[in-house]
Amino acid sequence: MTQAILTIEDYAKTFHLHERNKDIPSTSGVNLSVYPGRLTALIGPTGAGKSSVLKGIYRTYLPSSGRILFRTKAGNIIDLAKACEHQILELRKQEIGFVTQFLYCLPRKSAIDVVAEPLFARGVDSHEARGRAEKLLAQLAVPSHLWNVPPATFSGGEKQRVNLARGLIAQPRLLLLDEPTASLDPATTERVIKHIQSLKETGIAMLAIFHHPDLVRRLADEVVELSPPIAVTELSKD
């Protein structure tokens, strides 16, 4: 097997709530690797910390301990748990993508521009970027009459597809997917599955959480199971 693009060693995340003086463990002892052209699925019950792992990699969460080793395009190994913020921002722009369950975008921007934005940020010509966005929106069955409309008024499923297209367009080397098909109908889910399969063929490494076990069976090359962490720790007032 080729070298892993991402290796996580003993990742743990605990939230400390100052107001209540409590430590709330989210996940601990996570070890996994993700390889180019392969998909690793994270499974486990609600509260097992699956999203916490993805957010730790993307640095939306500050990891409490462990190492998150990412192999860059240039071949360097960077510990994402400790990398400086500017380095993380650059990796987000160029190499690591994250499709979350929610779409945050500016209210006036058209769906096409929302999707094309990661390409604009990389300096891709706007005509080409919009062309690629249109192609992807068509592939994900977003009706063409919505392309020039801001997604604020879209249905949950349409927003999810715009969100997915935005995450997929820049073809990052590592793609994190947090329940990308959660609010999609079966036909659209099938399109997304095909798209993910084609991404694997292009060598993109993926770490994903899926709502449905059938998707794990069809798409995952590796499966990592997480268990819920131990109970909340009440800290003494001293």
Binding site: T60, L106, F120
Partner: protein, 277 residues
Amino acid sequence: MSRKILEVRGLSRIHGKGCPLCTQHTGPEFDTNICPFCGSVVAAHDINFDLYRGEILGIIGESGSGKSSTVKMLYFDDAPTSGQATFFDGAEQHDLFSLNAAQQRSMRNKRFGMVYQNPHMGLNFQISAGGNIAERLLMSDLKHYAEIRRRAGELLSRTEVSLARMDQNPKTFSGGMQQRVQIAKALATRPPLLFLDEVTTGLDLSVQAAILDLILEIQNELDTAMIVVTHDLGVIRLLAGRTLVMKHGRVIESGLTDQILEDPQHAYTQRLVASAL
């Protein structure tokens, strides 16, 4: 070439005569920025950060936290008590607080831009909207009337102000349109560094959204670095890649904006985020 455009180190501002105990007995842990011994106000203390080209940095905090004070010092509206700020302008490097008054004026007029919360601070209400922009273009050495008028029109169009209103006085404009003229004026010299101080505060939500959208478009188009001061978490969520959280004159936390919002570390930031959601 480094992408750094601004480096701020140890920036501090004390209003009042100050005493050796001022900074030791103020700050978040004392829940005040007023020195109990001499009554001086520690508006900002030991502020450190770097800003990169094309980056938007958010500064968030409640009234009196020192966020506007920080920006005012960098724009020469106020002088620091101590600290350094280095501006990297192409191959040149400027120690901002060592510049003389004329050099500071030149820096403000040509290389920096500022958009204030209150349009009265950024606009001259004695002259037309176009005149306001022309004023700034003149200060940046553009002298030809037709060229100035053409460029002013271009800027107003870009900020979505009708050209029909170019010769009208901005005091007849709505709050949102006044902010657009301020943005057009600030951008007149295509500054690589722009300061935005509570620019959407007090505007209707729909107008706020349009202004934020405009700011982001400009940042994309011109690769302008920006420091955005706000007390609105929604504004930094949409605009800023990184954020500093200030309280009682100190930076209490800094990080990637999504991390600040989803995994805040400091007790105050946790309260701030919890109360906004």
